[in-house]
Structures are given as C-alpha cells and as structure tokens.
C-alpha cells in the first residue's frame, strides 16, 4: 500500500491505433518519477489518463489508492496538473488566475504567497503573455500547488526553455519535491531525466521498455559490455555556454 501511483496493464486505443499498449508501473511517495521517450511514444496520453482528462480503454490506475475511473472527482482534488502549453486566460493577471483556480478547487489561498514560492511576486499584476518561457512554467507549477496536492504531473516542463531557465526550473521542481510532493514528469531530454529524476520509465511506441533509476540503467548497460566509442570530454559546449553567460540565474 506504499505506492502513491499504481498503473496496471493500462491500454488506450483510438480506433485501430493503440496509443498506450499495456503498461504497468508504480510510483513511490516523495519520488520524482520521469517518463522518458520520443514524441508520440504515448507519454502525454498516459499522463492525461492519470490526470482524469482521458478515459482508459482497459487496465487500472490508482492514485493515492483511489481508482481514477471510478472516482475522478476525488482524484482531481489530490493532484496538480501542468499541461504542455501554459493554458491560462490571456486577459487575467497572475493574482486573478490563482484566485479563480482556488475557487475551482474550493480552497482558500494567499495568491501572493504562492507567487513568492516561485519567485514571481513582482509579476503579480502581469498577464501570462507578458512572462518569459521560464516564468510561464514557474507560474504553471504554482498553479498546480493551489490545492496542496499529493502528486503533481508536469508534461514536458522544460521544452523550449533556454539552459538557464531549465536549471532554474529544475531547482524549483526539487524544492517542491522536498516539501513532500510526489512529482511525475515527462521529458525527451536525457540530461533532464538523469539529473532530475529519482526513477525513470523509458517509453516508446506505447510500451514501457525499462523502469529503474538512471544509475542502474547505465550500470546494466555497462555490465553488458557496452563501451562508448568517443572519449568522454572533460567539458562540453553547454558548460562553455553556461560559464560565459553565468550559471547564476539571470532570468527575471
């Protein structure tokens, strides 16, 4: 009963197309769990079934012990959701958006405190379209925390962000995780999966190929006698870029 999420033989089909093909995995409380895979692997569909936004064809998904198919409203109360695009009303400012979402979750919050958590207090009266990419994603994370969820789902949170903004967002995700929130995220970046996630599921064509920690993945591969052909470089171009532009967070 220690799993916060338990997915068993999950299948989702659209006509003849099978988007998710019989996957099973568990997520432990307090984990950062990553679903790694190329575009079209079925990551977002899997996420949206867990988020109650899509119905499943067969199988079972339990969130905090609750069946998403039978009790979607109870699940919605316990989770936070970030979608791929920053899905917010363009004509409402950040404070107003948080206030509206609080009513939709039927909770009472202090919007300004929530903005402070994600370092956006000076953007309180701004509209989402006036924010940079990283700021949008940080605001999006703040909006997932309104109902003090046990689990939050982040769908490709750093796609399209520059390196500084990505590192800043990773720190934000770690901070939220430290406060006791389980995090499930999708990504197609290897470095993000390696640096941020405690455990990973590698997904392709609707199936999970392997589940485990990034370290065991690499260990397993090396134990098979795998050798990388090129010599590992002591530094790469990203290190140069970060060194020149400053690893310190410049992003407003």
């Amino acid at each position: 009963m220690s799993n916060i999420i338990s997915v068993t033989n999950l299948i989702k089909t659209y006509g003849n197309f099978t988007a998710v093909d019989g996957i099973s995995f568990n997520v432990q409380p307090g984990e950062i769990f990553g679903i790694l895979g190329p575009n079209g692997a079925g990551k977002t569909t899997t996420l949206e079934i867990m988020e109650t936004l899509k119905t499943l064809t067969s199988g079972e998904v339990l969130i905090d012990g609750i069946n998403v198919q039978d009790h979607p409203w109870e699940v919605k109360r316990r989770i936070g959701v970030q979608l791929q695009s920053s899905a917010f009303y363009p004509e409402l400012n950040l404070i107003e958006l948080l206030d509206m979402f609080a009513a939709m979750y039927d909770v009472h919050i202090k919007p300004m405190d929530m903005l402070k958590e994600v370092e956006l207090e000076d953007k309180a009266k701004n509209y989402v379209k006036q924010l940079s990419g990283g700021q949008k994603q940080r605001f999006s994370i703040a909006s997932t925390l309104i109902n003090q969820p046990k689990v939050i789902f982040l769908d490709e949170p750093t796609t399209g962000l520059d390196p500084q903004a990505r590192i800043h967002l990773w720190e934000m995700v770690r901070k939220v995780n430290k406060s006791g929130v389980t995090i499930v995220l999708t990504t197609h970046y290897m470095d993000e999966a390696e640096q941020l996630c405690d455990r990973l599921a590698i997904m392709d064509k609707g199936k999970i190929l392997k589940t485990g920690t990034p370290k065991t993945f690499i260990k397993d591969l090396l134990s098979q006698g795998f050798k990388k052909e090129a010599k590992p470089e002591p530094a790469n171009l990203e290190d140069v870029f970060l060194n020149l532009t400053g690893r310190a967070l410049r992003e407003g």
């Binding site: 012990g65 009790h71 409203w73 919605k76 009303y89 004509e91 107003e96 206030d99 039927d106």
Partner: protein, 367 residues
C-alpha cells in the same frame, strides 16, 4: 483506508468564474469594439436619420414664366424645395433622381385655356414622381374651380388628423439594434471564445480541477449575460437621453426590455454553443456564424421593416429567433402594448433555444 467521496462544491466556483470571465471580457478589445462602440455609432446614425422629413425637390426652368400664381403657390408649400436652373440641367438631375420633377407653366395655347402646366418626372424616383403629379393635379383642380367660379363644389374633401406620436426611424431601429447586439455577443463571443479556450488548452486545464464542465459553461454563459445586459442598458440610455427614445410606460417598459433581453440572450446562446460544437477552428467558425447571423440581420426586421419582403419569404422571416425578439420588443415600445402580448414571441424564442441546446448537447466536444 478511509475515504470520503464528497461532491465538489460548484456554487462558489460558478460565481468566482463568472466574475473573472466577465472581467476578462471587459479587457478584450473585441468585446469593447463590437459590443459597445459599434452600437453607439449605429444608434447615433439612426438618431440623425430620423431627424429629416420627406420633401419634394422641384425644378423651375429659368426663363419660363415664374411670376404666375401657380408657381407662387408651389413656392409657398413648406414641404417643397424649388430650384431655378436651365431646363437641360434640370432634366439631367431628374434622370439622376436628384430632383423629384420639373414644373413649367406655359402660356395658353388655345383660346379657352389660361395656362398649361407641363410636368416632367422620371422613373428614377417613382414615389416622388407620383407625389409631384398628384400635387400638381391638386393645384390645377383648385385653380380650375376658382376660374370657373365654383365656390361650392358638389364633392367636398374633409380632412381630419388623429393626434398621434410621430414615429421616427430611431423608434424602429433602436429595438433592432438591441437584438443585433445580443445576437452578435451570443454568437461571435461564444463561438470564437470557446474555440480559443479549447485550442489554448485553457478548458482542459480547468477540467483538471474538481469543477464540473457544465459549471464552467454556465459561468461562461452567465458572464455573457452580464455583458449583454450592459449593452442593452447602454443602447437604451443613449437612445433615451440623446434621441428621446419613447418608452410608452416609462420605467416599466425599461424593466420589461431588460427581461426580454435576458430571454433573448439565453435563446441566442444556444446557437452559440451549437456553432461552437460544429466548428473545429476559427476558419470553419467564420462562415458558420455568418450563415446564422447574416440572414437574421437582413430578414428579421432589424434595421428595416419586413413588410416589403416577397410573400414567400414572409413565413421564414417572421419566424426567425431574432424576428421574435424584435417583434416582442416593438410590441412594448413602438406599439405601446402590454407585456402579456409578448408571450407568443417569448415562447417562440424559447422553442428555438430548446432546439439549439438539444443540438448543442449532441455536437459539443470538449477538446
């Protein structure tokens, strides 16, 4: 493991969402332009059109006999404007419809005739031509009687005018403008608004909360209702203050108009939800919305009366939802009727609304 499956509270979510959806609309330049600026411009134009009265423009060829008593009588009429110019110029203007006709009084050609009045009119303006002809005939008849020494003609015409309120164009057009604004808000606002919310994943993000989809749609409709009521208020107040729009029963009529607006908008919103369900994106929504709105703007007696439409078109024109709304509004304004007389039209509106909500429930897709 103990669990309490509590039903999510929708009431607070409904009111807070309605407040913010309304706020978002007030910040949208399109709402402002189409909902508030256009009606103000339209009403101002209608008010100004109503100001002028019908006149006949008559040309008097220069060089003709202008001093005879018949020409003097013509010039004295308040509703006639005369213009003196060479005959060829005047004829050109008659052909173009700028002049109602030309009147030239010629000296007698025969022994028993005093004058010959030569009237020139054109097909360019049939109504004014008829007006000029009957006016000249009247003058000729009277002059003939006087010349013949008849002081007591056997047939007398007795004219009585019933005192009544002079109806101006604004009295006709203002109710139409209210209907036009309501239908525009309900259709364009709802269809393009919902398509945007779907495409930008805003609706999806909201569905991830414990607030039900129906609550979100109702809050959307509620916020449009507030906007529509403000539009009606603005149009009415402008009409009353600037152009003395006539409310037969004062405040009662005013309140009745607001009630009708609410009913009208609820019915029109049904069309909006139905169209939003049919259209996948903005490109397919444009033609669909125009297909519904344009015929109604033209055929529902919005800006001009439907009485002159061909007979076969009348049954269609008189049963469109906007026609019902316009007829109900005119019943209590221009016709000075009682609110109970609008009930058939309200039932018609509600029937249209019910049909549309039914179709919308079949076509609407959340994604």
């Amino acid at each position: 493991m103990k669990k309490i499956y509590k039903k999510p509270n929708q009431i607070r979510a409904f009111f807070v969402m309605m407040k913010y959806f309304f706020l978002a609309q007030t910040r949208n330049p399109a709402t402002f332009a189409f909902g508030f600026l256009f009606p103000v411009v339209f009403i101002s134009i209608f008010g100004l059109i109503g100001g002028s009265t019908q006149t006949l423009n008559i040309g008097l060829p220069s060089g003709s006999n202008l001093n005879n008593p018949i020409v003097q009588t013509i010039k004295k009429q308040s509703y006639i404007k005369t213009q003196e110019a060479p005959r060829t110029d005047l004829e050109k203007q008659v052909k173009q419809g700028k002049l109602s006709g030309i009147i030239e009084v010629q000296a007698a050609k025969q022994a028993q005739t005093a004058y010959t009045i030569k009237v020139t009119t054109s097909q360019a303006n049939i109504q004014e031509a008829a007006g000029v002809n009957s006016f000249v005939r009247g003058i000729a008849d009277q002059t003939n009687l006087e010349l013949a020494g008849v002081t007591n003609p056997p047939v007398k015409v007795e004219q009585t005018e019933i005192s009544g309120r002079k109806l101006r164009y604004i009295d006709f057009a203002l109710p139409g403008q209210i209907g036009f604004s309501l239908l525009s808000t309900a259709l364009f606002g709802t269809v393009f608004g919902l398509i945007y919310l779907k495409k930008a994943l805003i609706l999806k993000r909201m569905f991830a909360t414990p607030t039900k989809a129906m609550t979100i749609l109702l809050a959307q409709g509620g916020s449009r209702l507030i906007v529509a009521l403000l539009q009606t208020l603005l149009i009415l107040i402008l009409g009353i203050v600037l152009f003395k729009f006539y409310l037969p029963h004062g405040w009662l009529t005013f309140v009745e108009l607001l009630v009708l607006s609410v009913i009208g908008l609820i019915a029109f919103l049904g069309f909006g939800y139905f169209m939003a369900g049919l259209a996948n994106d903005e490109n397919s929504a444009g033609p669909l919305v125009n297909l519904v709105s344009l015929p109604q703007f033209l055929l529902s007696g919005t800006f001009f009366s439907t009485e002159n439409l061909p007979n076969w078109l009348q049954p269609i024109a008189n049963n469109l939802p906007l026609s019902y709304f316009n007829m109900a509004v005119r019943k209590i304004t221009t016709e000075g009727g009682d609110f109970s007389q609008t009930i058939p039209y309200i039932l018609g509106l509600l029937a249209w609304g019910a049909l549309m909500y039914f179709l919308a429930s079949r076509t609407f897709r959340w994604e």
